[in-house]
């Protein structure tokens, strides 16, 4: 499935790096929340722009109504991460994230942004740390509220053709909270990613 973007060594390295980073992210999240967190094995795919919505529907479930938060990271490695939440979103996490009063719609959005920021930050930071590059994050923003997964992305307004997508599913052991975390590495960033992966391979 990974088209000729990464060599098989690079791809294995990315899988390895992602596994480690996601594992660390899960542990960090568990520490922040004080709850056990389960995660799936990260999937790495190369997708073309036209098939992005189908690809997401495959990952998340075609009939799912979702809310989503996006956040950009910049540096030697650039890209955007999208955290996709089930319709119930992360209301269950309100108390664990320090929200005391009843959740207003605004507070609910803020909570979603907070949770996405924690997950995205932990994952990307983990990956870039292993690859020994520095990145900064811009503020996250809400990209969709209660929207069918098939309408999440608008390919006609997007400029890229090919992207590397890594996906992992986080869930709390107790309760129903689940979040699909996807990272999009645009074509322009894949060269730098490949170089960083080569360095990572050499370091062993």
């Amino acid at each position: 499935m990974t088209k000729k973007i990464l060599t098989s060594d690079q791809r294995d390295a990315l899988q390895e790096v992602t596994n480690i980073a996601m594992g660390q992210a899960g542990a960090s999240l568990a520490q922040v929340l004080g709850e056990f967190v389960q995660l799936s094995v990260p999937q790495i795919n190369v997708i073309e722009l036209e098939e992005i919505n189908q690809a997401l529907a495959m990952l998340v479930g075609a009939t799912t109504v979702v809310s989503a938060v996006r956040q950009a990271f910049t540096g030697a490695l650039r890209g955007e991460a999208v955290a996709i939440f089930d319709q119930e979103g992360c209301i269950e996490l309100a108390e664990l994230m320090g929200y005391e009063k009843e959740l207003t719609p605004k507070a609910e959005q803020e909570l979603m942004l907070d949770v996405a920021n924690v997950l995205i930050g932990a994952c990307i930071k983990g990956i870039t740390k292993l690859l020994q590059t520095d990145i900064t994050f811009s503020p996250p923003s809400v990209m969709a509220k209660n929207m069918p997964i098939g309408q999440l992305m608008h390919p006609s307004t997007m400029e890229w053709k090919l992207a590397l997508v890594t996906e992992v599913n986080f869930a709390l052991e107790k309760g129903r909270f689940t979040c699909h975390l996807t990272q999009f590495w645009p074509e322009s960033s894949i060269v730098s990613l490949a170089e960083a992966l080569d360095k990572f391979i050499e370091s062993f």
């Binding site: 960090s28 520490q31 320090g98 005391e100 507070a107 907070d114 924690v118 930071k125 503020p139």
Partner: protein, 323 residues
């Protein structure tokens, strides 16, 4: 005395920049407090530095902010707040006291972990506060303008009740809702009697006054969930969700009564008016909202034929036989 060279510009820059910057240690004690924070909080850096931020500013949402800072410490990661969800962290005055119309300075905040390069431990957290009041004001004006535009696009200019466009959108919506949940849905169509004569006798300003008066008198008789609008000309419509035929007939009778009760005052003149009303209700035979409308129209036609100033109703179209 320090030599004035680029290496010591940074503290001066941080102190003078028009953005709030402060730094906390891991115990939430303030270790840096720039001039922006001084002038907006009214608390001088010498009063704040060395003190716990929550003691100095008890109005801060402590539990949430602590959690937020803990996540920065634990994950060694940035964290953010945005004015759109949390308008402000500190209740600072903004610089639009006259033209503002917003309570406090709207703030975007960035929380950054500051890593000690030799130990790689996070020992400090910086908080940067951006004043985004202007952005928030523009956004507010924009959404108000959009709201107004939306209101205008569904309002009848003369009577200020809903227009035909909104009525039709509501027919669609309420019809499918009623069908899906098997809720009752009824409709009143009414038409002023001999309106052309009113226009001919009193001129169009007189006719307009009568139409406005109709809206004014009927409005108090409908519930908030009903959709009352001008269908066109002198024809009005009330769409009544969750209402049986009997309920709708009762309302129609009240409308009829209030319209003909007293003449409409037009300058020194008094214009008498009355209306004919047709009522229909959703039954299993009706498949589209157009059929419901058609039925109300036919009932209205009956009312006209029965001598006007009265209410008629139909449960079944004339051309269809009872099931």
């Amino acid at each position: 005395m320090l030599a004035w060279n680029p290496s010591n510009l940074l503290p001066v820059l941080i102190d003078n920049i028009d953005t709030g910057i402060f730094v906390l240690d891991t115990e939430f004690n303030v270790v840096l407090w720039n001039r922006f924070m001084v002038s907006h909080s009214g608390k001088h850096s010498t009063d704040v530095i060395g003190h716990n931020i929550f003691d100095m500013f008890p109005e801060l949402p402590k539990k949430w902010f602590e959690k937020k800072i803990q996540s920065v410490l634990l994950l060694k990661n940035f964290s953010f707040t945005s004015w759109e969800q949390r308008p402000w962290l500190f209740p600072f005055a903004h610089n639009r006291p006259i033209t503002g119309g917003i309570d406090y300075m709207q703030q975007n905040c960035v929380l950054m972990p500051l890593e000690n390069p030799s130990t790689q431990e996070i020992e400090f957290i910086s908080v940067v506060i951006f004043d985004v009041t202007d952005t928030a004001l523009y956004q507010k004006q924009l959404s108000e303008a959009l709201n107004e535009l939306e209101q205008t696009s569904i309002t009848d200019g003369l009577t200020r009740i809903y227009n035909r466009r909104h009525l039709q959108a509501s027919f669609n919506l309420e019809f499918s809702r009623a069908n899906r949940h098997k809720f009752p849905l009824s409709m009143i169509m009414f038409d002023l009697d001999h309106f052309k004569k009113i226009n001919d006798t009193y001129g169009h300003p007189g006719g307009d006054e009568v139409l406005r008066e109709v809206a004014k008198r009927v409005k108090p008789l409908v519930r908030t969930e009903d959709v009352f609008g001008r269908y066109g000309g002198e024809e009005f419509c009330v769409l009544m969700p969750d209402t049986t035929l009997e309920g709708a007939i009762a309302v129609a009778e009240r409308i009829r009564s209030v319209l003909q009760s007293v003449p409409v005052q037009f300058g020194n003149l008094h214009i008498a008016m009355s209306a004919s009303l047709g009522v229909s209700t959703l039954t299993s035979e009706i498949r589209t909202h157009q059929e419901l409308l058609q039925l109300a129209d036919e009932s209205l036609y009956d009312a006209k034929h029965n001598g006007r100033n009265c209410v008629s109703s139909r449960q079944m179209p004339v051309n269809s036989s009872p099931a």
